[in-house]
Subunit: 231 residues, 2 copies
Protein backbone atom coordinates (compact mmCIF):
# COMPACT_ATOMS: atom_id res chain seq x y z
CA UNK A 1 0.00 0.00 0.00
CA UNK A 2 2.96 2.22 0.47
CA UNK A 3 3.75 3.65 -2.92
CA UNK A 4 6.23 6.33 -1.96
CA UNK A 5 9.42 6.07 -3.91
CA UNK A 6 11.01 9.42 -4.45
CA UNK A 7 12.24 11.33 -1.45
CA UNK A 8 10.63 14.73 -1.87
CA UNK A 9 8.27 14.87 -4.77
CA UNK A 10 5.29 12.62 -4.37
CA UNK A 11 4.92 12.29 -8.08
CA UNK A 12 3.72 8.75 -8.11
CA UNK A 13 1.10 9.86 -5.64
CA UNK A 14 -0.21 12.53 -7.83
CA UNK A 15 -2.85 10.61 -9.71
CA UNK A 16 -4.02 8.99 -6.55
CA UNK A 17 -3.97 12.26 -4.65
CA UNK A 18 -5.51 14.32 -7.37
CA UNK A 19 -8.18 11.76 -7.73
CA UNK A 20 -8.99 11.91 -4.09
CA UNK A 21 -9.03 15.67 -4.25
CA UNK A 22 -11.27 15.64 -7.26
CA UNK A 23 -13.63 13.44 -5.37
CA UNK A 24 -13.67 15.72 -2.38
CA UNK A 25 -14.30 18.69 -4.60
CA UNK A 26 -17.25 16.94 -6.16
CA UNK A 27 -18.56 15.96 -2.77
CA UNK A 28 -18.43 19.54 -1.68
CA UNK A 29 -20.07 20.73 -4.88
CA UNK A 30 -22.91 18.35 -4.18
CA UNK A 31 -23.24 19.71 -0.66
CA UNK A 32 -23.25 23.32 -1.76
CA UNK A 33 -25.85 22.67 -4.42
CA UNK A 34 -27.99 20.53 -2.18
CA UNK A 35 -27.79 23.11 0.57
CA UNK A 36 -28.99 25.82 -1.77
CA UNK A 37 -31.81 23.60 -2.90
CA UNK A 38 -32.80 22.67 0.64
CA UNK A 39 -32.82 26.29 1.73
CA UNK A 40 -34.69 27.56 -1.28
CA UNK A 41 -37.39 24.94 -1.39
CA UNK A 42 -37.25 23.31 1.98
CA UNK A 43 -35.88 19.85 2.58
CA UNK A 44 -39.03 17.94 1.75
CA UNK A 45 -39.91 19.84 -1.38
CA UNK A 46 -36.36 19.68 -2.71
CA UNK A 47 -35.70 16.53 -4.71
CA UNK A 48 -32.47 14.74 -5.36
CA UNK A 49 -33.35 14.74 -9.02
CA UNK A 50 -33.34 18.50 -8.92
CA UNK A 51 -30.06 18.65 -7.05
CA UNK A 52 -28.47 16.28 -9.52
CA UNK A 53 -29.82 18.19 -12.46
CA UNK A 54 -28.27 21.40 -11.20
CA UNK A 55 -24.96 19.59 -11.13
CA UNK A 56 -25.48 18.25 -14.63
CA UNK A 57 -25.49 14.68 -13.43
CA UNK A 58 -28.24 12.20 -12.60
CA UNK A 59 -29.62 11.17 -9.25
CA UNK A 60 -27.92 7.79 -8.86
CA UNK A 61 -24.55 9.47 -9.28
CA UNK A 62 -25.11 11.17 -5.95
CA UNK A 63 -25.08 7.81 -4.28
CA UNK A 64 -21.41 7.52 -5.06
CA UNK A 65 -20.81 10.19 -2.46
CA UNK A 66 -23.61 9.89 0.05
CA UNK A 67 -25.72 7.18 1.57
CA UNK A 68 -28.97 9.03 1.04
CA UNK A 69 -30.85 12.28 1.21
CA UNK A 70 -30.76 12.59 4.97
CA UNK A 71 -27.05 11.97 4.90
CA UNK A 72 -26.59 14.93 2.59
CA UNK A 73 -28.70 17.03 4.90
CA UNK A 74 -26.59 16.07 7.85
CA UNK A 75 -23.32 16.88 6.13
CA UNK A 76 -24.63 20.27 5.06
CA UNK A 77 -25.42 21.00 8.67
CA UNK A 78 -22.08 19.63 9.80
CA UNK A 79 -20.17 22.06 7.59
CA UNK A 80 -21.91 24.97 9.27
CA UNK A 81 -21.39 23.50 12.70
CA UNK A 82 -17.70 23.06 11.97
CA UNK A 83 -17.30 26.78 11.47
CA UNK A 84 -19.06 27.48 14.72
CA UNK A 85 -16.81 25.03 16.51
CA UNK A 86 -13.80 26.68 14.98
CA UNK A 87 -14.43 30.19 16.18
CA UNK A 88 -15.60 28.99 19.56
CA UNK A 89 -12.23 27.30 19.89
CA UNK A 90 -10.56 30.58 18.96
CA UNK A 91 -12.52 32.52 21.52
CA UNK A 92 -11.81 29.91 24.14
CA UNK A 93 -8.12 30.28 23.45
CA UNK A 94 -8.26 34.06 23.59
CA UNK A 95 -8.48 36.16 26.69
CA UNK A 96 -10.87 38.75 28.01
CA UNK A 97 -13.61 38.76 30.57
CA UNK A 98 -16.97 37.07 30.24
CA UNK A 99 -18.65 40.01 28.59
CA UNK A 100 -15.89 40.50 26.03
CA UNK A 101 -16.00 36.88 25.06
CA UNK A 102 -19.75 36.86 24.89
CA UNK A 103 -19.61 39.82 22.53
CA UNK A 104 -17.08 38.10 20.34
CA UNK A 105 -19.21 34.99 20.28
CA UNK A 106 -22.29 36.97 19.29
CA UNK A 107 -20.40 38.81 16.61
CA UNK A 108 -18.98 35.69 15.01
CA UNK A 109 -22.23 33.77 15.34
CA UNK A 110 -24.24 36.56 13.75
CA UNK A 111 -21.94 36.66 10.77
CA UNK A 112 -22.20 32.94 10.25
CA UNK A 113 -25.98 33.05 10.44
CA UNK A 114 -25.95 35.30 7.41
CA UNK A 115 -24.43 32.54 5.29
CA UNK A 116 -26.03 29.48 3.75
CA UNK A 117 -24.12 27.19 6.05
CA UNK A 118 -25.18 29.24 9.03
CA UNK A 119 -28.81 29.17 8.01
CA UNK A 120 -28.57 25.41 7.78
CA UNK A 121 -27.94 25.36 11.51
CA UNK A 122 -31.45 26.55 12.25
CA UNK A 123 -33.54 25.85 9.20
CA UNK A 124 -33.17 22.09 9.25
CA UNK A 125 -35.26 19.74 11.29
CA UNK A 126 -33.39 17.15 13.36
CA UNK A 127 -36.28 14.79 12.84
CA UNK A 128 -35.23 14.41 9.23
CA UNK A 129 -31.98 12.79 10.32
CA UNK A 130 -31.09 9.27 11.34
CA UNK A 131 -31.11 8.58 15.04
CA UNK A 132 -27.34 8.59 15.11
CA UNK A 133 -26.92 11.89 13.34
CA UNK A 134 -29.72 13.44 15.31
CA UNK A 135 -27.83 12.68 18.47
CA UNK A 136 -24.74 14.39 17.12
CA UNK A 137 -26.75 17.44 16.23
CA UNK A 138 -28.39 17.56 19.63
CA UNK A 139 -25.05 17.31 21.35
CA UNK A 140 -23.60 20.15 19.29
CA UNK A 141 -26.53 22.43 19.92
CA UNK A 142 -26.36 21.70 23.60
CA UNK A 143 -22.67 22.41 23.63
CA UNK A 144 -23.11 25.79 21.93
CA UNK A 145 -25.86 26.66 24.33
CA UNK A 146 -23.65 25.83 27.27
CA UNK A 147 -20.90 28.01 25.84
CA UNK A 148 -23.24 30.98 25.77
CA UNK A 149 -24.29 30.29 29.32
CA UNK A 150 -20.75 29.80 30.48
CA UNK A 151 -19.61 33.16 29.17
CA UNK A 152 -22.52 34.77 30.93
CA UNK A 153 -21.81 33.10 34.25
CA UNK A 154 -18.15 33.90 33.84
CA UNK A 155 -19.09 37.49 33.19
CA UNK A 156 -21.19 37.57 36.32
CA UNK A 157 -18.32 36.08 38.29
CA UNK A 158 -15.75 38.55 36.98
CA UNK A 159 -18.10 41.48 37.39
CA UNK A 160 -18.47 42.41 33.73
CA UNK A 161 -22.05 41.20 33.58
CA UNK A 162 -24.92 41.99 35.92
CA UNK A 163 -26.33 39.08 37.87
CA UNK A 164 -29.09 37.50 35.84
CA UNK A 165 -30.59 34.19 34.83
CA UNK A 166 -27.89 32.79 32.56
CA UNK A 167 -30.15 30.20 31.01
CA UNK A 168 -32.88 32.59 29.96
CA UNK A 169 -30.41 35.23 28.86
CA UNK A 170 -28.65 32.69 26.69
CA UNK A 171 -31.97 31.67 25.17
CA UNK A 172 -32.85 35.27 24.46
CA UNK A 173 -29.54 35.95 22.77
CA UNK A 174 -29.51 32.70 20.84
CA UNK A 175 -33.05 33.42 19.70
CA UNK A 176 -32.12 36.77 18.24
CA UNK A 177 -29.12 35.26 16.53
CA UNK A 178 -30.80 32.17 15.17
CA UNK A 179 -33.61 34.28 13.85
CA UNK A 180 -31.15 35.93 11.52
CA UNK A 181 -31.02 32.66 9.64
CA UNK A 182 -34.70 33.03 8.94
CA UNK A 183 -34.92 36.61 7.74
CA UNK A 184 -31.52 37.53 6.38
CA UNK A 185 -31.13 37.73 2.64
CA UNK A 186 -28.01 38.65 0.82
CA UNK A 187 -29.71 41.07 -1.51
CA UNK A 188 -31.31 42.95 1.36
CA UNK A 189 -30.43 46.34 2.77
CA UNK A 190 -28.44 45.04 5.73
CA UNK A 191 -24.92 43.70 5.51
CA UNK A 192 -23.84 40.78 7.63
CA UNK A 193 -21.16 42.89 9.24
CA UNK A 194 -23.45 45.69 10.24
CA UNK A 195 -25.85 43.19 11.77
CA UNK A 196 -23.03 41.54 13.67
CA UNK A 197 -21.74 44.88 14.89
CA UNK A 198 -25.14 46.01 16.00
CA UNK A 199 -26.17 42.76 17.66
CA UNK A 200 -22.95 42.25 19.58
CA UNK A 201 -23.61 45.58 21.23
CA UNK A 202 -27.38 45.61 21.47
CA UNK A 203 -27.84 42.08 22.79
CA UNK A 204 -25.42 42.74 25.63
CA UNK A 205 -26.52 46.25 26.50
CA UNK A 206 -28.86 45.07 29.16
CA UNK A 207 -26.35 42.69 30.63
CA UNK A 208 -23.26 44.86 30.90
CA UNK A 209 -22.41 46.40 34.24
CA UNK A 210 -20.76 49.32 32.51
CA UNK A 211 -22.05 51.45 29.73
CA UNK A 212 -20.34 51.12 26.44
CA UNK A 213 -17.78 53.82 25.94
CA UNK A 214 -16.17 53.14 22.65
CA UNK A 215 -13.30 50.99 23.68
CA UNK A 216 -13.53 47.52 24.99
CA UNK A 217 -13.28 47.18 28.70
CA UNK A 218 -10.18 45.43 29.87
CA UNK A 219 -11.38 45.89 33.39
CA UNK A 220 -10.13 44.17 36.48
CA UNK A 221 -8.08 41.28 35.28
CA UNK A 222 -9.93 38.83 37.33
CA UNK A 223 -9.14 35.60 35.60
CA UNK A 224 -11.73 33.54 37.15
CA UNK A 225 -12.37 30.24 35.49
CA UNK A 226 -14.97 28.48 37.44
CA UNK A 227 -17.99 26.64 36.39
CA UNK A 228 -18.98 23.40 34.89
CA UNK A 229 -17.10 22.55 31.81
CA UNK A 230 -19.27 20.33 29.78
CA UNK A 231 -17.96 17.13 28.37
Amino acid sequence: MDTRRSSSDPSPWMPFESRRRARDEKREAVLRTALQSFLEQGYHRATLNDVAERLNITKPALYNYFRGKDDILFECWALGQERVDEFIAEIEASGGNGLARLRRLIHAYAKIMATDFGASLVRFDPRDLSEKNRKIMRASKKSVDLTFRRYITEGIADGSIKPCDAKLSAFAIAGSLNWIGHWYQRDGALSADSIADEFSVRLTEGLATKQITSRAQSAPAKKQRSGGRPK
Copy 2:
Protein backbone atom coordinates in the same frame (compact mmCIF):
# COMPACT_ATOMS: atom_id res chain seq x y z
CA MET B 1 -77.70 21.12 25.56
CA ASP B 2 -81.31 22.09 25.78
CA THR B 3 -83.18 21.35 22.63
CA ARG B 4 -86.67 22.10 23.91
CA ARG B 5 -88.40 25.25 22.94
CA SER B 6 -88.54 27.94 25.57
CA SER B 7 -89.96 31.41 25.41
CA SER B 8 -86.82 33.31 24.50
CA ASP B 9 -85.35 30.71 22.24
CA PRO B 10 -85.79 30.83 18.49
CA SER B 11 -86.75 27.22 18.64
CA PRO B 12 -87.41 26.53 15.03
CA TRP B 13 -83.76 27.42 14.54
CA MET B 14 -82.50 25.23 17.26
CA PRO B 15 -81.79 22.05 15.34
CA PHE B 16 -80.22 24.06 12.65
CA GLU B 17 -78.16 26.03 15.14
CA SER B 18 -77.08 23.06 17.23
CA ARG B 19 -76.07 21.28 14.11
CA ARG B 20 -73.94 24.16 13.03
CA ARG B 21 -72.34 24.33 16.44
CA ALA B 22 -71.63 20.64 16.43
CA ARG B 23 -69.95 21.07 13.11
CA ASP B 24 -67.81 23.91 14.37
CA GLU B 25 -66.82 21.89 17.39
CA LYS B 26 -65.73 19.05 15.18
CA ARG B 27 -63.84 21.39 12.94
CA GLU B 28 -61.97 22.73 15.91
CA ALA B 29 -61.27 19.27 17.22
CA VAL B 30 -59.70 18.43 13.89
CA LEU B 31 -57.56 21.54 14.05
CA ARG B 32 -56.39 20.86 17.59
CA THR B 33 -55.49 17.28 16.78
CA ALA B 34 -53.85 18.16 13.49
CA LEU B 35 -51.87 20.93 15.13
CA GLN B 36 -50.55 18.53 17.75
CA SER B 37 -49.62 16.08 15.05
CA PHE B 38 -47.93 18.73 12.92
CA LEU B 39 -45.93 20.03 15.85
CA GLU B 40 -44.92 16.61 17.12
CA GLN B 41 -43.89 15.10 13.83
CA GLY B 42 -43.49 18.04 11.52
CA TYR B 43 -45.95 18.86 8.78
CA HIS B 44 -44.48 16.56 6.16
CA ARG B 45 -44.07 13.54 8.36
CA ALA B 46 -47.53 13.91 9.86
CA THR B 47 -50.19 12.12 7.83
CA LEU B 48 -53.87 12.81 7.56
CA ASN B 49 -54.46 9.16 8.22
CA ASP B 50 -52.78 9.59 11.56
CA VAL B 51 -54.75 12.72 12.38
CA ALA B 52 -57.99 11.01 11.47
CA GLU B 53 -57.11 7.96 13.49
CA ARG B 54 -56.51 10.07 16.59
CA LEU B 55 -60.00 11.44 16.13
CA ASN B 56 -61.44 7.96 15.65
CA ILE B 57 -62.55 8.71 12.16
CA THR B 58 -61.10 8.01 8.73
CA LYS B 59 -59.19 10.28 6.42
CA PRO B 60 -61.92 11.11 3.91
CA ALA B 61 -64.12 12.36 6.73
CA LEU B 62 -61.69 15.23 7.17
CA TYR B 63 -62.58 16.46 3.72
CA ASN B 64 -66.02 17.36 4.97
CA TYR B 65 -64.41 20.19 6.88
CA PHE B 66 -61.30 21.14 4.95
CA ARG B 67 -60.21 21.32 1.36
CA GLY B 68 -56.92 19.57 1.98
CA LYS B 69 -53.88 19.19 4.17
CA ASP B 70 -52.46 22.61 3.48
CA ASP B 71 -55.81 24.13 4.29
CA ILE B 72 -55.72 22.53 7.72
CA LEU B 73 -52.22 23.85 8.22
CA PHE B 74 -53.31 27.34 7.33
CA GLU B 75 -56.25 27.30 9.68
CA CYS B 76 -54.08 26.08 12.54
CA TRP B 77 -51.82 29.02 11.94
CA ALA B 78 -54.76 31.39 11.62
CA LEU B 79 -56.04 30.45 15.07
CA GLY B 80 -52.74 31.46 16.59
CA GLN B 81 -52.57 34.61 14.54
CA GLU B 82 -56.05 35.54 15.69
CA ARG B 83 -54.92 35.62 19.28
CA VAL B 84 -51.99 37.80 18.41
CA ASP B 85 -54.27 40.18 16.55
CA GLU B 86 -56.56 40.28 19.53
CA PHE B 87 -54.04 41.37 22.09
CA ILE B 88 -52.41 43.78 19.71
CA ALA B 89 -55.80 45.41 19.33
CA GLU B 90 -56.04 45.61 23.11
CA ILE B 91 -52.67 47.20 23.44
CA GLU B 92 -53.46 49.63 20.67
CA ALA B 93 -56.57 50.68 22.53
CA SER B 94 -54.73 51.09 25.80
CA GLY B 95 -52.51 53.99 26.75
CA GLY B 96 -48.91 54.31 27.85
CA ASN B 97 -45.75 55.41 26.19
CA GLY B 98 -43.87 53.46 23.56
CA LEU B 99 -41.77 51.52 26.01
CA ALA B 100 -44.73 50.49 28.13
CA ARG B 101 -46.63 49.28 25.10
CA LEU B 102 -43.61 47.43 23.78
CA ARG B 103 -43.27 45.66 27.11
CA ARG B 104 -46.91 44.67 27.09
CA LEU B 105 -46.54 43.38 23.57
CA ILE B 106 -43.51 41.31 24.47
CA HIS B 107 -45.22 39.91 27.53
CA ALA B 108 -48.33 38.84 25.69
CA TYR B 109 -46.40 37.52 22.71
CA ALA B 110 -44.09 35.47 24.89
CA LYS B 111 -47.02 33.84 26.62
CA ILE B 112 -48.63 32.91 23.34
CA MET B 113 -45.41 31.44 22.04
CA ALA B 114 -45.53 28.93 24.85
CA THR B 115 -48.77 27.47 23.51
CA ASP B 116 -49.36 25.12 20.60
CA PHE B 117 -51.12 27.80 18.62
CA GLY B 118 -48.28 30.17 19.28
CA ALA B 119 -45.68 27.66 18.18
CA SER B 120 -47.61 27.22 14.97
CA LEU B 121 -46.81 30.83 14.16
CA VAL B 122 -43.13 30.06 13.75
CA ARG B 123 -42.83 26.35 13.18
CA PHE B 124 -44.78 26.21 9.96
CA ASP B 125 -43.36 26.89 6.56
CA PRO B 126 -45.28 29.33 4.37
CA ARG B 127 -44.14 27.39 1.35
CA ASP B 128 -46.48 24.59 2.35
CA LEU B 129 -49.46 26.85 1.79
CA SER B 130 -51.36 27.84 -1.30
CA GLU B 131 -50.32 31.09 -2.90
CA LYS B 132 -53.40 32.82 -1.56
CA ASN B 133 -52.91 31.70 2.02
CA ARG B 134 -49.21 32.37 1.85
CA LYS B 135 -49.97 35.97 1.00
CA ILE B 136 -52.24 36.27 3.99
CA MET B 137 -49.56 34.86 6.26
CA ARG B 138 -46.93 37.18 4.87
CA ALA B 139 -49.17 40.17 5.39
CA SER B 140 -49.85 39.22 8.99
CA LYS B 141 -46.20 38.69 9.80
CA LYS B 142 -45.34 41.99 8.22
CA SER B 143 -48.04 43.69 10.19
CA VAL B 144 -46.82 42.29 13.49
CA ASP B 145 -43.29 43.30 12.65
CA LEU B 146 -44.42 46.83 11.90
CA THR B 147 -46.24 46.96 15.21
CA PHE B 148 -43.03 46.14 17.04
CA ARG B 149 -41.19 48.81 15.08
CA ARG B 150 -43.89 51.35 15.63
CA TYR B 151 -43.81 50.97 19.39
CA ILE B 152 -40.08 51.43 19.29
CA THR B 153 -40.20 54.55 17.16
CA GLU B 154 -43.01 55.86 19.31
CA GLY B 155 -40.87 55.21 22.34
CA ILE B 156 -37.99 57.08 20.82
CA ALA B 157 -40.30 59.95 19.99
CA ASP B 158 -41.77 60.18 23.47
CA GLY B 159 -38.40 59.75 25.13
CA SER B 160 -39.01 56.41 26.81
CA ILE B 161 -36.65 54.57 24.46
CA LYS B 162 -33.13 55.47 23.49
CA PRO B 163 -32.52 56.33 19.87
CA CYS B 164 -31.70 53.15 18.01
CA ASP B 165 -32.31 51.28 14.79
CA ALA B 166 -35.95 50.32 15.14
CA LYS B 167 -35.79 47.70 12.42
CA LEU B 168 -32.88 45.77 13.86
CA SER B 169 -34.14 46.12 17.40
CA ALA B 170 -37.49 44.74 16.35
CA PHE B 171 -35.77 41.82 14.65
CA ALA B 172 -33.71 41.11 17.74
CA ILE B 173 -36.75 41.13 20.00
CA ALA B 174 -38.90 39.13 17.62
CA GLY B 175 -36.11 36.61 17.30
CA SER B 176 -35.90 36.02 21.02
CA LEU B 177 -39.66 35.69 21.22
CA ASN B 178 -40.13 33.46 18.21
CA TRP B 179 -37.37 31.23 19.42
CA ILE B 180 -39.50 30.37 22.42
CA GLY B 181 -41.73 28.45 20.08
CA HIS B 182 -38.79 26.23 19.25
CA TRP B 183 -37.47 25.39 22.68
CA TYR B 184 -40.33 25.77 25.09
CA GLN B 185 -41.92 22.62 26.42
CA ARG B 186 -44.76 22.43 28.84
CA ASP B 187 -43.13 19.81 31.02
CA GLY B 188 -39.95 21.85 31.37
CA ALA B 189 -38.64 23.80 34.32
CA LEU B 190 -39.77 27.22 33.09
CA SER B 191 -43.33 28.45 33.22
CA ALA B 192 -44.75 30.56 30.44
CA ASP B 193 -45.43 33.36 32.88
CA SER B 194 -41.93 33.51 34.26
CA ILE B 195 -40.53 33.60 30.74
CA ALA B 196 -42.89 36.39 29.78
CA ASP B 197 -42.04 38.34 32.92
CA GLU B 198 -38.34 37.94 32.38
CA PHE B 199 -38.35 38.67 28.68
CA SER B 200 -40.53 41.76 28.87
CA VAL B 201 -37.89 43.24 31.15
CA ARG B 202 -34.71 41.79 29.73
CA LEU B 203 -35.43 42.46 26.07
CA THR B 204 -36.08 46.12 26.76
CA GLU B 205 -33.32 46.74 29.26
CA GLY B 206 -30.95 47.97 26.64
CA LEU B 207 -33.54 50.17 25.02
CA ALA B 208 -35.02 51.96 28.00
CA THR B 209 -33.79 55.44 28.76
CA LYS B 210 -34.42 54.88 32.43
CA GLN B 211 -33.37 52.03 34.60
CA ILE B 212 -36.07 49.78 35.83
CA THR B 213 -37.02 50.54 39.38
CA SER B 214 -39.69 48.24 40.58
CA ARG B 215 -42.80 49.55 39.02
CA ALA B 216 -43.78 52.09 36.44
CA GLN B 217 -41.57 54.13 34.29
CA SER B 218 -43.38 57.39 34.71
CA ALA B 219 -41.44 58.92 37.54
CA PRO B 220 -37.92 60.00 36.70
CA ALA B 221 -36.33 57.98 39.41
CA LYS B 222 -32.98 58.14 37.79
CA LYS B 223 -31.84 60.81 35.51
CA GLN B 224 -30.55 59.99 32.10
CA ARG B 225 -27.20 58.37 32.33
CA SER B 226 -24.37 60.03 30.63
CA GLY B 227 -22.25 58.69 27.86
CA GLY B 228 -23.00 55.76 25.66
CA ARG B 229 -24.79 57.01 22.64
CA PRO B 230 -25.22 53.96 20.49
CA LYS B 231 -25.61 54.68 16.83
